[in-house]
Symmetry: C2
Subunit: 481 residues, 2 copies
Amino acid sequence: MPERSPAELDAEEFRRLGYAVVDWIAAYRAGVADLPVRPSVAPGFVRAQVDGPLPEQPRPLEELLGLLDDVVVPATTHWQSPNFFGYFPANSSLYSVLGDALSSGLGVQGMLWSTSPAATEVEQSLMDSLAGAIGLDPRFTFAGGGGGVIQDSASSAALVALLAALHRSNPGWRADGVDGLERVYVTAETHSSLAKAVRVAGLGERALHVVGPSPGSLAMSPRALAAAIGADVAAGQRPVLVCPTVGTTGTGAVDPVREITAVAQPHGTWVHVDAAWAGVAALCPEHRHLLDGVEHADSFCTDAHKWLATAFDASLLWVRDACALPAALSITPEYLRNAATESGAVVDYRDWQVPLGRRFRALKLLAVIHGYGLEGLRAHIRGHVALAEQLAAWVRDDPGFALAVPPSLALVCLRVITGDGPEADDAASREVLERVNASGAALLTHTVVDGRYVIRVAIGAVTTDASHVEALWERLRKERG
Amino acid sequence: MPERSPAELDAEEFRRLGYAVVDWIAAYRAGVADLPVRPSVAPGFVRAQVDGPLPEQPRPLEELLGLLDDVVVPATTHWQSPNFFGYFPANSSLYSVLGDALSSGLGVQGMLWSTSPAATEVEQSLMDSLAGAIGLDPRFTFAGGGGGVIQDSASSAALVALLAALHRSNPGWRADGVDGLERVYVTAETHSSLAKAVRVAGLGERALHVVGPSPGSLAMSPRALAAAIGADVAAGQRPVLVCPTVGTTGTGAVDPVREITAVAQPHGTWVHVDAAWAGVAALCPEHRHLLDGVEHADSFCTDAHKWLATAFDASLLWVRDACALPAALSITPEYLRNAATESGAVVDYRDWQVPLGRRFRALKLLAVIHGYGLEGLRAHIRGHVALAEQLAAWVRDDPGFALAVPPSLALVCLRVITGDGPEADDAASREVLERVNASGAALLTHTVVDGRYVIRVAIGAVTTDASHVEALWERLRKERG
């Protein structure tokens, strides 16, 4: 019989290398605040150093760690820096690093209940408990006839919600596909993942109806939505899904979920609430109003990997009908048939997502919740919100700056004021942002509101504290000149 | 100014807890061979122990590790056990655990080049180098005008290939969606992810043409494909994509890629080669024939997370046209605009996939390649293939068993022979499989070939060696009685 000589590590060697990896991560995180947040590298810088044939023989781990130090770190945008204020935060707290390592260590495939009962049920239980912790209506729990699932991203959550909506709106969808009559409602501020989902699902951009805002706001107008749906229905079209956003990417605007569901429901239109960034704030009672009306929606999504201290990927999706996703997505070839599935007593999460395979994602979130406690997570969120309020106060008090919109949770949108009119303010705002980013002292990104260039300050890195926001404010004032 | 008191770990505490996690993983892996591969738990077993409110205050990590020991491990199907022979392997080698932990530690979002130049370029470089290592045509590399990307799964790879094909076949697809004339060609043995992709993309099952096999085989008949495409074209339909499989899930059958591309190309039909399990074997020159004809295909997918020692998720997708996926998938809102993207000099991987966000997945694969060396990975594959050949020889020599089909690489498909006819053999095969699984000594799954129940033995766990295959064979013989 042939023998194998596996190159796999034994326990002792794994412990040695594992400790070295832990040490590397500890040192990286301990020093990340001192690194330029944005690297000053040109396209091709990394490839010039790493291109070439792969090693034929094993190399010591120290070499890989050296490559990280010498090439990767200098060419990395440091999302875990406390001076990172771009996009939205991508919390990868050290607790979640530990939990994710345990998931890799277990190495299970959670596609079916039978391929990992624990991965499935821990996720079900966690999603039910979290629903309670954020004040989501019990009908979104498995106990209440709905249920939660951890997706890779809010993009994928929106896509599967749309697929469930397509199936619900047309029982022939699985057999015959889309029919060209579908309509999906968003605003100009809705995340681009909705447009992407509409494209992926074969509807084409023509299916996308961009509903206008209520006067003086960036939030969806329920009246405009009602008019749009009414006109579409009169024209023989089918209002399949509307996506209100709780905390838009640009400015943190909040669409009126309650009014939107009231408009949508008589038409059987699926309401998917995208609270990717802001939703986790509902852990705090003072922010629970963010969920107002969500009890009437069909699905609700918020990302643990943005502001809830959990390493990507961990997008939390709840649906009010536990059958909705499997009804749309299930396909069972012979090699996936098993007694547990056929008993109907279990959840097979493969039917709640597009990919077949899946990691034990709940573990990293569980590690965070155990590490922080819910109170610690509330403090994490409250701290950032308080910092944003302080920054906004400084902006209000400085004639050289202005708030573009009122701050939303921990997101502050501001503009440079030159006194020379809005075009000059646009140019100055752009220049200040570029100088801040070039300095490496902080990283900011921008958006456009009502045609005007706006600097976004998204506070939320795990280690961001008052000193970092103070330093950012000083830097903004300095770069304004 | 408000102060925060972050609950985040400091370096010293992280090292202490990190070492404990490493120790836990080392102990789990050291002991996994002795655990029942399949847990004997009923639905609800885990929930009954973990349900309840989440902790308000932090809990020590030891409690979480205790939960793993007491609840999770006893309720886990142990994919990393050397006695796991079900489905396909889900290698999560300890090297990849280390690399993945480093990725979580860096905690970058690789959606755009500018949001992590290193994550993007290391992935590009690795995919180019790996293409060379498996003998893929250079036109699949960035240097050759194509390029590679790490997807979460072969399901998602098939989906984005289909979307690129839809766009190529109909320039109006982005605006108008699908038109109902699309046709997609598979076989009865093609993975169910293709049917799922067709459904997700809005084509409906009616778009799916199941092409028959060549006589006496389970492989797609190029002649039947030509007839199907010809008839569809004559009927005014559009042959959008054909998916030949290199190593089907059921039995490891290999569709004739060269002949299929010859049939498809005159019609502009996209050829997506699904080699999810088998493709990595092309690292070995003696298996490189698996790629025969792939140089004429449009896309090629193989999973590092199946048999290439890399923790899920790491599905390797190459396309021959670097513009194909961005052309189909790109959408750029204001908040994602940046100078690097607009220069056209960089790859933004968000446009190569459905989700926006993405991890630094290349790191775990790089850690594996550094740890094993390409020679070590070839030994890993060759060892399993040799074990499969030995098992197949034993089956051939035992009148109580028969091979259902010739072994394919490390997959052996067998049946119990009773002498009482095929129905009795079916029943006996099912019973033997169930007894083996119930014993916990090994885990097997099944398929159906030509209407007959077949036991699949997929050899490929990282630590499986001769002793485990010998034990399996003894167990099979014992349970046959």
